[in-house]
Symmetry: C2
Subunit: 245 residues, 2 copies
């Protein structure tokens, strides 16, 4: 509880229409009046402390979540306990699309730092998107974009070497940070080497070694989770089939 008027865990209302993430989130491309309808839909927020789960595999699916502040990972796990990080989500990105298919969540979503999400009741989103063509279309685009993103990750996992994977990962992160107004060259990783490794299909030692190699090669400066990109072009070149040396 804080002392803001009307504050609570789920108050502190910031409407979609006045949210500075609206250009990155569900309202992209909607008219102002459509966004005001969204405001009624997205009535609640939820705080998730670092390390806590927003939802777990098997949880009943009720809502989608838009990250307002903070950082998440999603992971799936096999019967034998192995697990795989399937993505990292930052402000403006949607969580929970996996749940629609079976009315149960099919992955875990874990906050990697103290975070806040907007709760989007899925049933109401379906109702509203029947009424507002643009919202419907925008929602479909977001699902489709997730599919396209996943295919890109498959390409990475199926055909790239360790250095290429890490370079692709860093470039993707910085691009998304840049879209949110952050520096393109300096970043603080919110996840461990092990989580990066899981996402990239590598072991944590390989991630660490590759960071070190990038530093030796003058591409990065690495101090634990503090990363400074020295040569964006060098990283990009690694992806464009440049030889490893």
């Amino acid at each position: 509880m804080n002392s803001c008027p009307g504050s609570s865990n789920t108050a502190f209302k910031v409407a979609c229409s006045s949210c500075n993430l609206r250009e990155l989130c569900l309202p992209v491309g909607l008219t102002h009046s459509d966004i005001e309808r969204l405001d009624r839909l997205v009535a609640t927020r939820r705080n998730v402390a670092r390390g806590d789960t927003l939802f777990r595999t098997g949880d009943s699916f009720q809502s989608l979540y838009a990250v307002r502040t903070g950082f998440f990972k999603t992971c799936v796990s096999a019967e034998d306990g192995r697990d795989q990080v399937t993505g990292f989500q930052m402000a403006g990105e949607l969580l929970g699309l996996d749940g629609i298919s079976s009315d149960r969540h099919a992955c875990d979503a874990v906050a990697l730092e103290d975070s806040q999400v907007c709760v989007i009741p899925y049933g109401q989103l379906e109702v509203l998107s029947r009424e507002f063509t643009d919202l419907q279309h925008q929602f479909h685009k977001i699902m489709s974009r997730e599919i396209v993103r996943d295919h890109g990750v498959m390409l990475l996992l199926g055909s790239m070497r360790a250095e290429e994977r890490l370079a692709a990962f860093l470039l993707n992160l910085t691009q998304r940070l840049r879209a949110r107004g952050f520096s393109a060259s300096s970043l603080v990783l919110r996840m461990t080497r092990e989580e990066i490794g899981s996402y990239l299909g590598l072991k944590l030692e390989t991630v660490s070694r590759t960071f070190s190699k990038f530093q030796e090669d003058g591409l990065l400066e690495v101090k634990q989770r503090q990363i400074r990109i020295v040569s964006q072009d060098g990283l990009q070149a690694l992806l464009n089939g440049a030889p490893a040396y």
Copy 2:
């Protein structure tokens, strides 16, 4: 042209309502009257000869496609020419969801045998799904299922060894064939070793060697593309963390 009354490349009309794939395809769970609305939507078919593409990366996105007969692969490619098979689609499965995000297709869809698809104009699907709640929900489920499937592939690519990958691939294939009324133990692969390898993040030689090893181990009988599953349980055990020996 053949001699059927009213025949043409796009005639030979079989309505969704009388299609034997309706339990696997878009109409799943719809009432009979809803399906009849779908019939109007899915007005055309398209034949795709083996080796031809249904659509290519960059093509303008207009329609989704439901596989009626035949078999497809989808693949994405990187700038440097590397490519990755992202999936294999059989009767009743939907192609083209990738195109919604940017109004252009984001992968190639190639027929691996002479095939026929139902053309589902996307704009009309959006219109119809605003009117029919069940259709809307079913469509969302299908997109979500694709996302969940992709996450499963990431798990496979990110954390499984070659034998586990191939076992998972075969079990997935047979499960889908069984759902279509085919034998669970005997199948003919429609794709090359190289295509399997691309999908599984392995080289074709590794795929071939692993097939041979499965045969030596009494799990399969392999004659080129003819596969007989001798021990489904053995394959399943490989996936459940059984040691490799």
